[in-house]
Symmetry: C2
Amino acid sequence: MHRLELTKPDGRKLTLYSRAPIDSNLQAPSPFSDPLQGAPHLRWHPLRGEWVTYAAHRQNRTFLPPPEYNPLAVTTSADNPTEVPAGAWDIAVFDNRFPSLGVPQGAEPPPSLIVPTAPANGHCEVVVFTQDPKGALGRLPLDHIELLLQVWGDRTERLGTRPDIRYVLPFENRGAEVGVTLHHPHGQIYAYPVVPPVPARMAQVASEHYAQHGHGPLAEMIRSERETGERVLYEGRHAIAFVPACARYPYEVWIAPIREVPGFAQLESAERADLARALKTVLLKYDGLWERPFPYLMAWYQAPTDGDPHLGMHLHAELWPPYRTKDRLKYLAGTELAAGFFAMDALPEDKVKELQAVEVSL
Amino acid sequence: MHRLELTKPDGRKLTLYSRAPIDSNLQAPSPFSDPLQGAPHLRWHPLRGEWVTYAAHRQNRTFLPPPEYNPLAVTTSADNPTEVPAGAWDIAVFDNRFPSLGVPQGAEPPPSLIVPTAPANGHCEVVVFTQDPKGALGRLPLDHIELLLQVWGDRTERLGTRPDIRYVLPFENRGAEVGVTLHHPHGQIYAYPVVPPVPARMAQVASEHYAQHGHGPLAEMIRSERETGERVLYEGRHAIAFVPACARYPYEVWIAPIREVPGFAQLESAERADLARALKTVLLKYDGLWERPFPYLMAWYQAPTDGDPHLGMHLHAELWPPYRTKDRLKYLAGTELAAGFFAMDALPEDKVKELQAVEVSL
């Protein structure tokens, strides 16, 4: 992995990653010249016992690009800088210009309110998966996907060692159906000042399971899914992909290393290679299912970086597509959002057959 | 409140409620004649530590109505029965024909899988708010809305006393934006065999707060919101509506009795009357904001019915509209769904002003 760290004219960081050496003369462009404005703040939700972040400055964007402008494409003219330079690199990571988390130096303190407030520490990054605006994560070469897994590990280490960051979540929202308007292949990384509710719950459940069984709940599920094979989409020496028996979305898929690895940074290279094969297999099956780009939310869960051991936490991706069938969306409504109790009208054992039937070549 | 309990030809229950006496000769129609098919089952999600319900029979609907057919309109011809009879009644409650929860007698046991499974006990009801298919909850007369609050109390008592039911959640999904295809004013009631994750968390947080302060967190918020008044939309002697300081949706509103009442069944009649005024005020403001029907998810949180005291739980509605601005939806994506960490780019103090400016007459 080759890496080049740069600073944009507005002070934001840009890191370029590549399988091959990178020209160290590359410059970091920015569509913005003035430094970041405003600071997000956290408010405590007294009924749910969780933090919510408020970034009102996101509304005050001084820059509204025309719809055909792609800020993630490489800069081709100095008059019209984008977020990334032209040149030989594979993956770019830069600080989000309108972050939900991350307080600039000298920012105003959070407001005083009827609920507790705090500075919204943390960090938000954008990850450009490829220079090709028409590409897709699943269509990248395997060694490019492997590089992405390395990049996620590098970002997790860099962010996770910061004392103000307790959880690092890489995710991709793909498709207009999940609210994405920018189709250049990219993801995001949110680095949180607290362990957010969902991974906090997972870590608690995992550590209870570990205390009782000596391994986490995902390791146990993987062993069982491998034994039955019924819901498996990919199985290699080191990685597996399957529709979990407890899927909450009709086409939900999990991807994981077979070994109980807490995060990207602890993957060995053979594991990373196999995980790339598992990920590519799933994404090609998704796009092949209806022969059109398949929208999804993909989140990679890792152990928190708060210094606790978090035994039983097991790196894995959960992919949640919004479709129930080819032309019907699954809306999250009363029971899912208000109760947190998911209702499915499709069985994982049926849905997996549709994906198993899609042939792909890596 | 007048009530008439009936049984449909397919065995489902129908209860009619009215402000005036109801003709006891009314018959319960049903679009279906055969008894309910199939049984939902629960599967344990080992990573999140929660149950998911699977109702595969929902896909096997033998009856697909034409789009113009409204099963919630009163039956006008014996050849074309709907879910409710013609006659003088205000509100109808009937068993959902395709429930996500509720196991018919003699149903097959849940499948044996690699994760724990269980029968999906519980109950799902549909609540028809009015006979007028073009109406809206917010446009009903105040005493009709009061009746609905009584009906929710009656259903909570009837369902909550069943030993297999631990939580009763009345909710309304309104608008195509939240997935609703049937525009006749109606809501649903889910009665769960467990306390679902969100109210379970609320109950835990509330009881910890109560142990420390002698009242729940909502009582404290209401006191503070009344003191500042900044985010208040309605304040009566017994009820209040406000945009909470910790709103997770741009136009989020909470409605609550001022007294710390655990559920609908414990409301006094003056409280119910004022709560109806608060609810009507909010819904009229919503529809008045952009002079079009305003979509939302409205959930009414009550104390669990599992027999524990649940001190500090405080009946209230949370309304979550899906819009950020007049023409932009707020999508729940990476951080909200995967982390459970909400990010807002609007401040409650700004959004409330838009709603405060909408004048309504009850």
